[in-house]
Structure formats: C-alpha cells, structure tokens
C-alpha cells in the first residue's frame, strides 16, 4: 500500500537555528512531491514541489529550501530560522497512476514553533 511518512510531528526551535524536515513515500515510484505550509489562521500555501530526483521548483521566495536526494524522499531545510517560519508544514505526494480527480495524499504534518 502507499503511505507517506513525515517527521517530526512537533518541533520547537530558536530563531537562527537550522531546520530539516523529512518526508518519505512508500509504495509508489516517481511521485510528484510537495511541501505546503499553513500559518496560524491561514490557508495552505505551496512552498516547493518536485517532479523528479534533484528537480525542485520554488513557489514563494523565502528563508527555506528543499531538496529531493532520492526518488521518494523530500527534505525541507533552512539555514537560519525566523519567527515567521512558524507554522504547520505538510508534505504531500501524487503518483502518476493516481486518478487525476484524487488530488494529493498528505502526510500528518509537522508543527514548527520558532521561539
């Protein structure tokens, strides 16, 4: 079966510290992968997406970066966190074999609080 793993579930980091959030997908190959962020009281903002290994597209200029070192691994990083980076981060995937009308499957999310 196809599953998506995202960790950690919660994270509290000081301003200026680095960040690394990891997302892995099982049971599929060559998925499209996405990172979203939901700030407090806001909608879901697309941050990055990847259609293949090493391919990263950025949607919003910001303090974050993404990498895809393996087919089913997607990493969100920052060298120095800002207070405004706080939020709920979600990884999602879409397989080419998934019916078009099913959209994405989301991970369980990471609650990041920058203090």
């Amino acid at each position: 079966s196809q599953t998506i793993h995202q960790w950690p579930a919660t994270l509290v980091q000081p301003v200026g510290s680095p960040l690394s959030l990891e997302c892995t997908v099982e049971g599929t190959s060559n998925p499209n992968l996405y990172w979203y962020r939901q700030a407090a009281g806001r909608g879901l903002q697309l941050l990055f997406y990847s259609v293949g290994i090493g391919q990263i597209s950025s949607e919003v200029p910001q303090n974050l970066s993404a990498s895809r070192p393996q087919d089913r691994q997607f990493i969100l990083s920052s060298k120095k966190l800002l207070l405004s980076d706080s939020g709920f981060y979600l990884c999602a995937w879409k397989s080419g074999g998934t019916p078009a009308n099913y959209g994405y499957t989301f991970g369980s999310g990471t609650r990041l609080t920058v203090v």
Binding site: Q6, N32, Y34, Y36, R42, G43, L44, Q45, L46, Y49, V51, S57, E59, F88, L90, A92, K94, A100, N101, Y102, G103, Y104, T105, F106, G107, S108, G109, R111
Partner: protein
C-alpha cells in the same frame, strides 16, 4: 494574488440541515477542483472533486457544484452531522504536469447537535 478564495472563514449549522460552503477562483487554467477536510494537527484528507468540464458531482451526502461562467464552486453537505465539523479547503489543480493544487484559506464548519 489569491487565485482561489473562500470568503467565509466560518459557518455554523444545525445537525440535519444543509451546509453550503463556497469557493471562487480567478484563473481559468484549472482542470479539477477539489474539496479537502482537515482536523487540527492533521493533514487534509480528500473529500470530493469535480472536473472542469462537469457542473455537478455527487458522493453520498456530499455534492459539489461548479459554475464556470461565475468561476464559482460550492460544496453541499446534506444532512449535516456533528462529525462533519472541521475546516474545509477548496483547491484548484493547474493544467500542467506539476499537478499543483492551489488552496483557498478554508472555512471552519461547526455542526451543532
């Protein structure tokens, strides 16, 4: 520039009545529209979708209507149940291989017993 908008941040309805959640979009380059349901501290889960060439799709208690001329879609839940209480996000999928979903800001639905 918000391409997908949900102008009602919250909605409260009585159990058994109809819930209507609305969504507007500004870009015609979308091929699917989707609704997701989200509970706090969890990832969104897919609820129902509609192709841009359709005007209605029904799945049990959930029906989505699409008005292309008005660039408007709505989700109807009949009858509403307390377990439907959650945040509902409207999303539009771009017509390219990235399959990007552009989300609205969400509507918090409360179904009162």
């Amino acid at each position: 520039d918000q391409q997908v908008k949900q102008n009602s941040p919250s909605l409260s309805v009585q159990e058994g009545r109809i819930s209507i959640l609305n969504c507007d979009y500004t870009n015609s380059m979308f091929d699917y529209f989707l609704w997701y349901k989200k509970y706090p501290a969890e990832g969104p889960t897919f609820l129902i979708s509609i192709s841009s060439i359709k005007d209605k799709n029904e799945d049990g208690r959930f029906t989505v209507f699409l008005n292309k001329s008005a660039k408007h879609l709505s989700l109807h839940i009949v009858p509403s149940q307390p377990g439907d209480s959650a945040v509902y996000f409207c999303a539009a999928r771009t017509m390219d291989s990235s399959y990007k979903l552009i989300f609205g800001s969400g509507t918090r639905l409360l179904v009162r017993p």
